[in-house]
Each structure stands twice: as structure tokens, then as C-alpha cells.
């Protein structure tokens, strides 16, 4: 009990409510948390988006960007901020966002490290859970070193999606191992109408012919990650039946390092591989993919691939990787010996040649994604973490 309220508060802080699969999954998680009924759930968003109304219909929702700049509290906040009273300004802002009245017994869940600023507005007694999505180096750019320090100092428990995230937090940032927990993602199928149907036009813009079978590879092409996707492209090209196969490499903006374009040029892959650097989430490009291949060393639950499975796209991946559970015994795609390029190429080519098989395997992948990454289960796991950190906070 805190602040005289009947039930404790759980504040979920997220970036925005844009109509992405990731945000739809968050919406479903919030709905499940509300249904659990043990806490008063509030959502705080940095920016709005198409899903705001739907979120607000589930629970109280505050959009920071919509707060009036000219409300007396906002003017006061800016004034004292400029006078150098930053901590006080932070408290004022926290109150405006509904975070200031949090106390012991309440908890905050940051849905991404990119909402780190929220930590400046929180009372210290409130425990904080922070989801750390996939990427080998989750606490690197674009966070500043100050932001990283704030996260490490202030977050009670990190909920990482990848084992690499655990390693990075513990080994690189010195976070105590007991403060880091691996958590399974929540994933939902794409909702028709969330984004314009661009598939054919997108294929044309990417230079893919109508007969091309597009194989998507999603991830971070930054130099550190050493992805073997272009050697895989060479292995696919060696395959006698691969003429129709083209690769679409979708990476975050500014991460297609020099290696990618160099390899494409010198390996003569320009007619086989297109690179797209993307701002925001990759789902739009799922519309053009017939198959997705996971050809990275790490990233245990790469969100784009889970979303691809949820969208009914068959997968080719390595054994021993979590994605293999979506494929099963070659039911949702193909599982190949760990990063065996010839085997992966063969799996890709086999799926490329059989549209019926692609649809059938895609349906299996979607069903498995729905079962394994169900938002209701994710909400339950998150709630368990909330209960644990609330108990752990010193009185």
C-alpha cells in the first residue's frame, strides 16, 4: 500500500504508440497486466501515435509530448530548470507525468532503454525494471555515457532479451548478476491496416522482379557483430536452383558498415543483395519477404524474426538457437546445423522453390510464435518480476 491508495501502482513507460507489432505486443501485455488486477497500471508515453486511444481504453495513459507547455507547472518547470535547479525541475516534471506520487510499494517498468530520461523524474524509493531488447551491445549507442550510468545506477533489475545482453551488463557495465534476468519477449501477429499495404510497390522500389523470392535478413550490420550473411549469399548463389533468390538485408540506420557494401561489390552480389537502412522497426519490409534467414552469431530472440514468424513467414535458422523452437522438426521452416552455410543455402532454396510449402510452414511458425511468445504469459512473467523487486527494496 502506498499514498493511501487501494492498490499499488505500476507505471509502464514506453517511447510511443505507433502502430508497430512491438507496440501491439506491449498493448496486449498491458491489457493482461490490468486483467491480473493486482495493481493500478498507468502508461506513460514519450510521444503519441495511432495506438494511443486503444491504450487509453485499457488503462490511464499519459503522453508527455501532449502535456501543455504553457500550463503553470510547465512554465515553472522550465524556469527553475534554467536557473539550474535541475533536480527540482525533474520532480516537477515527474509530478506532471504522474510519476512523482509513486512511493514504496509501487514500481516502474521501462519498456526500452531509450526512455532512460524517465529515471530522472522518479523518487529513489521506487523500484525500476528495465527491458533491454536484443542487440549484442544493448547499452551502447545511441545512449550517452551519462545515460548509461543513470541506468546502471538507478535500475533495480534489467530484463534482457538476449544472453549477450546479460554478458554486456555484467561484464562490461559491472551490474551485479542478480540484477539481470533474461526474459522472453511478447510477440503478436501483424494487424491488417496498421500500415499501408506496400508489398508490390516496395518490391519494385527495391529492384526485385515479380518472380524473385525475397529472403529477409534482419539485424545490426555494424562491424562488431560479424554477421556471416554475405558469405551465406555466396553459398546460396553456388546452389544450382537459386536463380530466383534475392536477399534483403534490413539493418538499423547508419549501421551498414563498410564491410557490407564492400563485400557486395567485390563478391559480385549487387544483383542478389539489397541493403536497406531503416529508421524505426523493420516490419514494413516483412511484407516483401517470402522467407527469413537468421544468419547471425547471437541475438537470442531477435524481435524482427519473432515478428516474421508471427506474420506467417517461414524461418531458416541454426540449431541450438531459440528460433529453432519456432521451427521444430522442420515444421515452421528449416533448422540447419549451426551456421552451416551450405545447409542454410539448401534450406533457403528449398523454400524458395515451393510456395505451398512456404505457406504451410509459415502457418506453423505463426502458431508456435503465438503460443510461445503470448503476451499474457509475458505479462505474468513481468508481474512476477514486479513482485520480486518490490519486496527487495530497502524499507
Amino acid at each position: 500500500m502506498s499514498g493511501g491508495r487501494a492498490s499499488p501502482r505500476l507505471v509502464v513507460v514506453a517511447r510511443d504508440a505507433s502502430p508497430t507489432q512491438e507496440n501491439r505486443a506491449l498493448l496486449a501485455v498491458v491489457r493482461s497486466l490490468v486483467a491480473i488486477g493486482d495493481a493500478e497500471v498507468t502508461v506513460v508515453l514519450q510521444k503519441g501515435g495511432a495506438l494511443v486511444d486503444e491504450m487509453a481504453s485499457i488503462t490511464a495513459t499519459v503522453v508527455a509530448a501532449d502535456l501543455s507547455r504553457w500550463a503553470p507547472a510547465a512554465v515553472f518547470e522550465r524556469l527553475i530548470g534554467r536557473m539550474g535547479f535541475r533536480a527540482l525541475a525533474g520532480r516537477v516534471r515527474g509530478h506532471r507525468l504522474g510519476l512523482g506520487r509513486l512511493g514504496r510499494g509501487d514500481a516502474v517498468y521501462l519498456h526500452t532503454v531509450m526512455v532512460v530520461q524517465a529515471l530522472r523524474y522518479l523518487p529513489r524509493a521506487v523500484p525500476v525494471l528495465c527491458r533491454v531488447p536484443e542487440s549484442v551491445y544493448p547499452l551502447r549507442q545511441p545512449l550517452s555515457s551519462t545515460d548509461v550510468r543513470l541506468l546502471v545506477d538507478r535500475v533495480t533489475r534489467f530484463l534482457t532479451v538476449t544472453s549477450a545482453g546479460v554478458d554486456d551488463l555484467v561484464a562490461v557495465h559491472g551490474v551485479a548478476p542478480e540484477r539481470v534476468v533474461r526474459m522472453r519477449e511478447a510477440v503478436v501477429a501483424p494487424v491488417a491496416g496498421d500500415r499501408p499495404a506496400e508489398g508490390p510497390a516496395l518490391r519494385t522500389r527495391l529492384g526485385f522482379g515479380d518472380e524473385a523470392v525475397v529472403v529477409g535478413i534482419f539485424g545490426d550490420a555494424a562491424v562488431e557483430i560479424h554477421p556471416p550473411c554475405l558469405p551465406l549469399a555466396v553459398a546460396i548463389r553456388r546452389h544450382p536452383d537459386s536463380d530466383a533468390v534475392v536477399l534483403l538485408l534490413v539493418v538499423p540506420e547508419h549501421t551498414a558498415g563498410p564491410w557490407a557494401r564492400h563485400d557486395i561489390e567485390y563478391a559480385g552480389l549487387a544483383d542478389r543483395v539489397a541493403i536497406v537502412e531503416l529508421v524505426g522497426s523493420p516490419p514494413a519490409y516483412l511484407d516483401v519477404c517470402d522467407v527469413v534467414v537468421h544468419a547471425w552469431w547471437g541475438a537470442d530472440q531477435p524481435l524482427a524474426y519473432l515478428e516474421a514468424a508471427a506474420a506467417g513467414i517461414p524461418l531458416v535458422c541454426s540449431e541450438g538457437h531459440e528460433l529453432a523452437e519456432l521451427v521444430g522438426d522442420d515444421e515452421g521452416g528449416y533448422v540447419c546445423p549451426r551456421l552451416d552455410l551450405p545447409a542454410m543455402a539448401a534450406g533457403v532454396v528449398a523454400l524458395a522453390a515451393q510456395p505451398v510449402e512456404r505457406r504451410e510452414k509459415g502457418a506453423v511458425a505463426a502458431a508456435r510464435a503465438a503460443a510461445r511468445y503470448a503476451p499474457t504469459d509475458a505479462a505474468g512473467r513481468l508481474w512476477q518480476q514486479v513482485l520480486e523487486v518490490r519486496v527487495c527494496m530497502p524499507s
Partner: protein, 401 residues
């Protein structure tokens, strides 16, 4: 570091980027030693940065290391105030002053495109100055230098020395260099010096033991820093691919030159751990005397995404170790196809694995190819063969008729 100037004005100023134990500085050192011992050319040396070979260079000729030019208080304060341009201007003035005595040297030989920055420090060019740039870079190297430096290279250079045919083609086709002013001179090594320091059986055994490689296991080796240009990720892929194949014997993979403090090395170690290759793939820190590792290798793979003509391949070949490389490196010009090694299509790691496997499985083939490679290095790529040819061109260029 400033050295006493010689009495006679130098004929040539050799500029190098640094004095590290890497290809370009080593080749320059070999060339300069040959010049000192075989000609009456007077020369001095300017290095942009220092390194472990500075004293070796200083034994040959007076050396100025620009990085050692004392930092002025003014430039330090300007840096602190984030007035970078002003700080650089002050620094440049001091470096120019350090090179004052060399401003009238008629010939400047830049031993890599990246040290072309020395030329502007010499001030306005005398009318008879000749600038020679020995290009040890390929496309990615040029890209990393930035357009301003590339423009400077092509605006001030009179003659280009290309480290391989691929470099020559790049300069002509990509950068519109005049073909008549680009001459190819392959890199060379000092065979006598290397042959004079053969590794002992105990040294080789110690290297094997340091990695935990059992007796009888084959060793596939590579050498270089762990930057993406050298393709360490492709080396891991190769190890992974070959690990999946039935081999006649256990195969281990050694990468020599992995700086343990480098971020790239750390991420490679993560990759190795994640892929379960830890017992067969070994990253070894750079060594001053790497001969024992070359002797340990049964096959040398060059996984570089680009490499003009790496000296380590010549050094390994001298040990009779065959090379397998991609076809876009300068080394493809050395190996031929089955002559002194093998080349495969770019980043076709599967094909590389096939070639390496065929060499490991066939001792006679490995020996024949390795012996041809060693012979070729002794005959064509020793300093005694390469230096005179380069010197002849140098003389022709600096004293045109």
C-alpha cells in the same frame, strides 16, 4: 625524436606513417637498409608516428618523429577550449618548424598514401621537387583516409609505386591516375635475415603447447590485426565450416596478431564462445618474432577482404607453407592457381574450406606447393631482387634526363 642531421643535404626524404611491425614500415626498413649498404644515396626519414621500429630506422638514417614534436602549451589549451582548428594550426606550425631543415629536399618518397600529410608540412615546393607515393592501400584504405587526403595524394604525387597489380589497376581505373606514372613493385622481405633466425623445434612445440594444440593436429594459420578488413569473421566461419566436415585428423585454427585490448578481439572471443569453437580456434597476441608460429602452420589462409600484398604471406611462404586466399587480394598474383597456393572467389568460404581440406589431406601436394612458394619468395621477393628495381625507378624519377 630528432636526430642529428648529416653533413650532406639529403637527396631523398622518406616519409612513413609509423614504425610498427607491419607490412609497409617493415618493407621501408628493408629498402632503406639496402640503400644504405648498396648506394651512396643520402636520405633522411620522417615518421608521422613512432613505434617499436624507430630505433631500427634511426640506425639507418636520421629520423624525425612528428608525434614526438613537443606539444605546445598553447595548443593544449586550445584543445581544452575545444578550438580544434586553432590547436591544429599551432601544432602544424611546430611540426613545420621541426622539418625546416628538410624543406628543400628535392625528392619526397611517401611510403603509403596516409602519410602524404608530411608533404604540406615541408612548405611551398621547390620547382624541382618530385613526390613519389608508394601505395600500400586498396579501396577501403582510401575510403578510410577521407576525400581531403585522397585529393591531396593525387594532386601532389608525381609518381606512384603500386604494391601489386590490383593496386595499380585501382589507381588507374578508380582514381584516373596516369598509367605511365604508376609502376608496380611487389613488396619484398629480407630473406637472409629471416633465414638466419629459424625457429627451433622447442620454440615450435612451445607455440603448439601455448594453444593446447595436440601433437598430430593440423594447424591452419592467419596473421593480422582483428579489424574487419582482415576478415577475422571469415576465419571463424572457415573454422566452423571445416569443423563440420570429416577430417582425417583434428584441425586447429590460429590467428596471430589479435591485440587483447582491442574491441574487435573481444567481440571475436564472444563469437568464438557462442559458436563453441573455443577449443579449436586460438587468438594469439602479436609477437616480435613470429617465425615459430609460421613454422607451426600447415596452411596459411589470407581471409582479408582486401590486402595489397601482405608481407606475412611472403614470410609464411618462406617456411614452405602454402597459402589460400581470396581472389581480390594482391596475394592472388603470387599464388597463381595451384602454383604457390590457391585463390578462391571472394568470400566463398566454402571454396576456401575445400582448398584447405585438400591441402591438409595431401601431404605431398602441400609440400610441393609450399616448396614452390618458398623458392619463389627467395628468387623474386627478397630485398636483393626488389630493392634494386625500386632504386632504379627512384633514380630515374628523381633525376629526369
Amino acid at each position: 625524436m630528432m636526430r642529428r642531421r648529416v653533413e650532406r643535404s639529403p637527396d631523398v626524404l622518406f616519409a612513413g606513417h609509423d614504425a610498427t611491425r607491419t607490412g609497409a614500415p617493415l618493407m621501408l626498413l628493408y629498402f632503406l637498409r639496402w640503400l644504405r649498404d648498396n648506394t651512396d644515396l643520402a636520405f633522411e626519414i620522417v615518421l608521422v608516428d613512432g613505434g617499436p621500429l624507430v630505433d631500427d630506422f634511426a640506425e639507418v638514417a636520421p629520423v624525425t618523429v612528428l608525434a614526438d614534436v613537443e606539444e605546445a602549451m598553447t595548443s593544449r589549451w586550445l584543445d581544452r577550449l575545444r578550438l580544434r582548428k586553432a590547436a591544429t594550426a599551432v601544432r602544424t606550425r611546430r611540426q613545420r618548424a621541426a622539418l625546416e631543415a628538410l624543406r628543400r629536399v628535392p625528392t619526397v618518397y611517401c611510403n603509403s598514401s596516409s602519410c602524404i600529410s608530411v608533404v604540406p608540412l615541408l612548405g611551398p615546393a621547390p620547382p624541382d621537387r618530385v613526390v613519389i607515393t608508394h601505395v600500400h592501400e586498396m579501396e577501403a584504405g582510401f575510403r578510410s583516409m577521407g576525400p581531403a587526403v585522397v585529393e591531396l595524394v593525387f594532386s601532389v604525387t608525381d609518381w606512384f609505386v603500386a604494391a601489386s597489380e590490383r593496386v595499380r589497376t585501382l589507381l588507374i581505373e578508380r582514381y584516373d591516375a596516369d598509367p605511365d606514372h604508376v609502376v608496380r613493385h611487389y613488396e619484398f622481405i629480407d630473406v637472409a635475415a629471416m633465414a638466419g633466425e629459424p625457429p627451433s623445434v622447442a620454440d615450435i612445440a612451445a607455440a603448439r603447447e601455448a594453444c593446447g594444440i595436440p601433437e598430430g593436429a593440423a594447424v591452419v594459420g592467419a596473421v593480422g590485426v582483428t579489424q574487419w578488413r582482415k576478415g577475422p569473421d571469415l576465419f571463424l566461419l572457415l573454422a566452423h565450416l571445416m569443423g563440420r566436415r570429416e577430417q582425417g585428423r583434428e584441425v586447429h585454427f590460429v590467428w596471430l596478431g589479435a591485440d587483447p585490448d582491442a574491441d574487435e578481439t573481444r567481440s571475436l572471443l564472444s563469437d568464438i564462445a557462442r559458436t563453441g569453437l573455443g577449443e579449436r580456434v586460438h587468438l594469439v597476441a602479436p609477437e616480435r618474432a613470429p617465425a615459430r608460429w609460421f613454422a607451426l602452420f600447415d596452411v596459411f589462409v589470407l581471409t582479408s577482404r582486401e590486402d595489397p600484398f601482405p608481407l606475412v604471406c611472403l614470410e609464411s611462404s618462406l617456411m614452405g607453407t602454402p597459402i589460400v586466399c581470396f581472389d581480390n587480394t594482391g596475394m592472388a598474383e603470387f599464388v597463381g592457381d595451384g602454383d604457390c597456393g590457391y585463390m578462391v572467389d571472394y568470400i566463398d568460404v566454402e571454396a576456401m574450406a575445400d582448398r584447405v581440406t585438400s591441402l591438409l589431406d595431401d601431404h605431398d601436394l602441400r609440400r610441393e606447393v609450399g616448396e614452390r612458394a618458398a623458392r619463389r619468395v627467395r628468387d623474386e621477393f627478397d630485398v636483393s631482387a626488389g630493392a634494386p628495381a625500386l632504386y632504379r625507378d627512384l633514380e630515374r624519377w628523381r633525376m629526369p634526363r
